[in-house]
Symmetry: C2
Subunit: 200 residues, 2 copies
């Protein structure tokens, strides 16, 4: 993708929104990852959606045609890769609600997976899009996990928007990169990890 | 998977071979990864095979049936994950040849991908199975890359078995873990990476 502006300058940020780009959260992240890849910043991919293939026919040479298959539930998250030597792992979620994101949007196996990743020294998080506000948040796994564990005790079924305002990090939406979530990692995550890393 | 031996001891290694387990290289690696996961050693998954879905029908509630789809060429490698804080990325290849593995088995985009990964501080490699010898090798990416670049100059189309004997590491085939490739990483890869890692 290549943007050329008449005066060599990007338009004001406020003129950009999802509505006029007409893309989905997932494709916004994919475009961002493509930018990171091309610039040599990070290598992060979306995993293919797992499919259970039941039958295949061979109507033409060299091209198998799948004629019956079903979508499977992914056992992990959608995105992973490497940035500045760190293993990165996350999923993207969105909600129409103005007040919270339902915990049922976040599968238990995804929480287990992200727990394993962060325990192993990786960087795990969610990108959460509040459609009503046009706001994208980087929700660190430890914040997610605290709220998830609380919900097991008190039966609460969602994470409040206020929690995002207080404990998550806003990700700016722009042209290129579209959703610069690595900026959050640079500023708020890696400094702590480098400090904790023992020099063996 | 759970093995119980009458005398509490594993049978001799030499009694184990692929023939009597009847599995493929890919599934041997998946069984190994499952072992690593359950023991809390590493979190490494095979990526799903990418499929281009053309049409879907909805014969029953909640279960979409894919009625036309095609396999796509993966843009990366098959396996990735995290071990001891390091990003791990590899592919599995096998050959019937007694003398070499053809370079055409290793796609150019996979070499590019592994180059990016190792440049970013990740651990990239191939697991290569020589069927004729029943031997599995851990081929470090830098060795692969040297031979790949030589091939662009001299037109050679394969990597010799002798190269594996000299520059790759044998991976032992056993019961559990089936193919303990992380042992190679522990012994030969991580010490060098830790030494190179600056304490910032």
């Amino acid at each position: 993708m290549n943007y050329n502006y008449p005066n060599g300058k990007k338009p004001q940020q406020k003129s950009i929104n999802r509505a006029n780009l007409g893309m989905t959260l997932e494709s916004d992240i994919e475009v961002t990852n493509q930018y990171y890849l091309e610039k040599g910043i990070a290598v992060i991919y979306k995993k293919p959606t797992p499919v259970q293939v039941v039958s295949v026919s061979y109507p033409a040479r060299n091209k198998a045609k799948i004629t019956e298959a079903y979508y499977k539930t992914p056992s992990t998250t959608d995105f992973n890769g490497i940035y500045r030597g760190f293993y990165i792992d996350f999923d993207a979620k969105e909600t129409k609600s103005k007040t919270s994101i339902p915990l049922k949007n976040i599968h238990e196996h995804q929480i287990e997976h992200l727990k394993r990743i962060t325990d192993a020294g990786g960087i795990g998080f969610l990108i959460v899009y509040f459609q009503a506000y046009g706001e994208y948040y980087y929700l660190p796994f430890d914040v997610l996990y605290d709220h998830y564990q609380d919900s097991l005790k008190d039966g609460r079924k969602s994470i409040a928007y206020d929690t995002f305002k207080q404990e998550a990090f806003l990700v700016k939406f722009g042209f290129n990169p579209r959703l610069d979530y690595l900026k959050v990692i640079d500023e708020y995550v890696i400094p702590g990890l480098l400090k904790a890393r023992a020099c063996r």
